[in-house]
Amino acid sequence: MATARSNKIGRTAAAGMVVAGAVGLGLLAIPAGAGAQPALPPVDPEELVRSVLAADDQPLAGAVELENGLGLPALPGIPQAADGTSTARIWTDGDHRGRVQLPTESGERTLVSDGETFWAWNSEDRTVRRMPEGRHERDPANADPGAAAAAMLAALRPTSEITVEGTSQVAGRAAYDLVLAPASSERTLLREVRVAVDAEHRMPLRLTVLGSGSPDPAVEIGFTDLSFGPQDPELFRFTPPPGARIEDSQGHDEHPRDASATTVGDGWDTVFLTPAPGPGERPEAPPTSRSWAARSAGRGAAGG
C-alpha cells in the first residue's frame, strides 16, 4: 500500500534526522585545534629561545584560556588562581598599548592600557581604577602567555635541559614545541614544561606545566583563538561609562606583596612566598598566606 510505504520512508527519514542531530552534537563536542602536526624546518633550541626573546611584539587579537589544576584555594580578587578554566580576551597593538577582558558569568573586568594611563574596570561594583602608566605593566602574567613563558625561560635556562620536541598546532597556527626538563641534579615535582612557539612570529602560544605522576597538566595557559594584524585603535582607549565610580590610584598599594615576598631554594626548587592581604582588607582572605604557599610548594606548583 502506498501510504504504508510512504509512512515507512517517512519513519526512516525521521530516524535519520535523529541520528544526524546526535552526530552533529558529537561533532560540536570535538575540541577545536586537534589537528595533525605541522611540518616545519628543524630548529636549534638555543636559536628558538633567542628568537623568542628577540621577537618584536606583534599587533594581535586573541582569546586565551587558562586551565588551572594547581589545587590552590580561591585567592581574594584573583578568581583565576583557583582550580578550573578561565578565559581572557586580549588585544594589543604591538606598541605597549593593550586591552585585556576577563569575563565571568555575571560580569567582566576590563584592563586597558592606552600608553599613558592604565584603566581597570570592574563591572561588579562598576568602578574604574585609573593609574599612570609605567610601572604597572601587571596582570598580563594571567592573560599574556608571551610574558609568562619568556620570564620562565630566562629563569630556567641554567638548571634545565632545553630541547625542541616536534611541532603542534595551537589556535590554528603552526608552532614548535620547546620542552624544558629539569636537569637530573634537580629535585622537583615537575616533570617538564612545554612551550609552544609560533613558527612565524616566534611568540609563545601555549605554556603547559606537567607534574610528575599525572598525565594532565598542572597548569596550561594558551591561545584558543589568535589573529595577527593591525587592531582598531578604539580598543586601546577607555572612556568611563556614565554612572561609573572613578578611583585614582598611584598603584603603590597595589603590590604590597612585592615588598615582603621572599624566595626559598633555587633552580627547580624555588618557592615563592608572599603574604596575602590581611583580613581587614578582604573579608574572605585567609588569615595568613603561609599555609597556601607551603601547600602549593608541596604540590609542586610553585617551582621555578
Binding site: 541520528v19 552534537l25 569575563p103 555575571s106 576590563t110
Partner: protein, 285 residues
C-alpha cells in the same frame, strides 16, 4: 416499497489539502485562546517590571551579579530578565505548550479527530511545532518589550545609553540591536527545548509527563554540569551554552559562544523533530 433515489452530491474522493496558513491560523487561535497561555504571557510581562521595581527600591547602587548591573542602566534589564528566565521559567512555558499540543489533546480525546482529519501527519507535526514556537516567541518578546519599557521608565537610562559589562557605553540603536539578538538566540534555545518536549509529548498521553521530563531534564543537566569528573559531558548538554546570552552585553561582542550554543540547539531541534515525526507517523489516538 418505494425507493427514492436521491441524487448524491458529487463528492471528490481525494480529500483536498487544506492550505497551510489555515492550519497554522487554526492552531494559533487554539493556542492563544487558552486562558493559561494568556495568564502565562502576562506573568512573563511582569518579570521585568518586578526586577525593575526591586532594583529601583534597593537604590544602593550597583550590587552583586547580573542584577547589580541593571541599577541605573535600564537597557540592561531586558537582557538580564531573559537570561534569568531562561534558566527555568521559559522552558516551563514551552514545556506547557508542548504538553498541551499532543499529549493534552490525547488526554482530552481530541487527538483522534486530528489524526482522522485529512491532514497529513507531517503537517500535523508542523502545525503543533508552530504553536509551541509562537508561545516561546511571545514569552520572550513579552520579557524584552516590558524589559525595555520598565528599564527606561523605572530604572533610569544612563543618558540613553547601555553600559556594557565591559565598561563601554553603546548608543540606543546598538543596544536595541543587541537586545534583538538575545531575543533571537533565546528563541533558538527554546526551540530546542520545545522540540524535545514535543517528542516526549508525542510519546505519552499524559501532559504532566512532558512538563516533568523537561524540568527534570534541566535539573539533571544542571547536576551533571556541576560534577567535575563529568566535564567531558558538557559539550553535549543544551544548558552548557546558556550563559552565552550575557555575551551580547559585552563589548566587543564575542560571537563564539552564541554561535556554538545555537548550533547545539539546532542539533537538539533535529533530534526532537525526528523523534516526534517518527512517533506521529504511527501514532493511534
Amino acid at each position: 416499497m418505494t425507493a427514492a433515489v436521491l441524487p448524491l452530491p458529487a463528492v471528490d474522493d481525494a480529500p483536498r489539502a487544506v492550505p497551510l496558513y489555515r492550519l497554522l491560523g487554526a492552531e494559533l487561535r487554539w493556542v492563544l485562546r487558552r486562558p493559561r497561555t494568556l495568564v502565562m504571557l502576562g506573568l512573563f510581562a511582569l518579570v521585568p517590571v518586578l526586577i525593575s521595581v526591586g532594583v529601583a527600591l534597593a537604590e544602593a547602587g550597583p550590587g552583586e551579579g547580573l542584577i547589580g548591573a541593571v541599577a541605573g542602566n535600564g537597557l540592561m534589564l531586558p537582557v538580564v530578565a531573559i537570561t534569568l528566565s531562561l534558566a527555568l521559567l521559559l522552558p516551563l512555558a514551552v514545556a506547557m505548550a508542548a504538553a498541551d499540543a499532543i499529549a493534552g489533546e490525547a488526554a482530552h480525546g481530541t487527538l483522534r479527530g486530528l489524526l482522522l482529519a485529512p491532514v497529513g501527519r507531517l503537517r500535523l507535526v508542523g502545525m503543533k511545532a508552530f504553536g509551541v514556537l509562537v508561545v516561546a516567541t511571545l514569552a520572550v518578546l513579552a520579557l524584552a518589550v516590558m524589559g525595555v519599557l520598565s528599564g527606561l521608565i523605572v530604572v533610569g537610562r544612563a543618558e540613553g545609553q547601555l553600559v556594557t559589562l565591559s565598561g563601554t557605553a553603546v548608543g540606543p540603536g546598538d543596544a536595541l540591536g543587541r537586545i534583538s539578538l538575545v531575543v533571537l538566540w533565546t528563541i533558538g534555545q527554546l526551540a530546542a527545548v520545545g522540540a524535545v518536549a514535543l517528542a516526549v509529548s508525542a510519546l505519552t498521553e499524559h501532559p504532566s509527563v512532558v512538563i516533568a521530563s523537561v524540568l527534570g531534564g534541566l535539573i539533571v543537566f544542571g547536576v551533571l554540569s556541576a560534577i567535575p569528573a563529568l566535564g567531558w559531558l558538557e559539550p553535549y548538554l543544551l544548558t552548557t551554552g546558556w550563559t552565552a546570552g550575557v555575551d551580547v552585553v559585552r563589548d566587543p561582542m564575542p560571537a563564539a559562544g552564541l554561535v556554538e550554543s545555537s548550533l547545539r540547539a539546532l542539533c537538539y531541534v533535529t533530534v526532537g523533530t525526528g523523534l516526534t515525526v517518527y512517533r506521529m507517523l504511527r501514532r493511534d489516538a
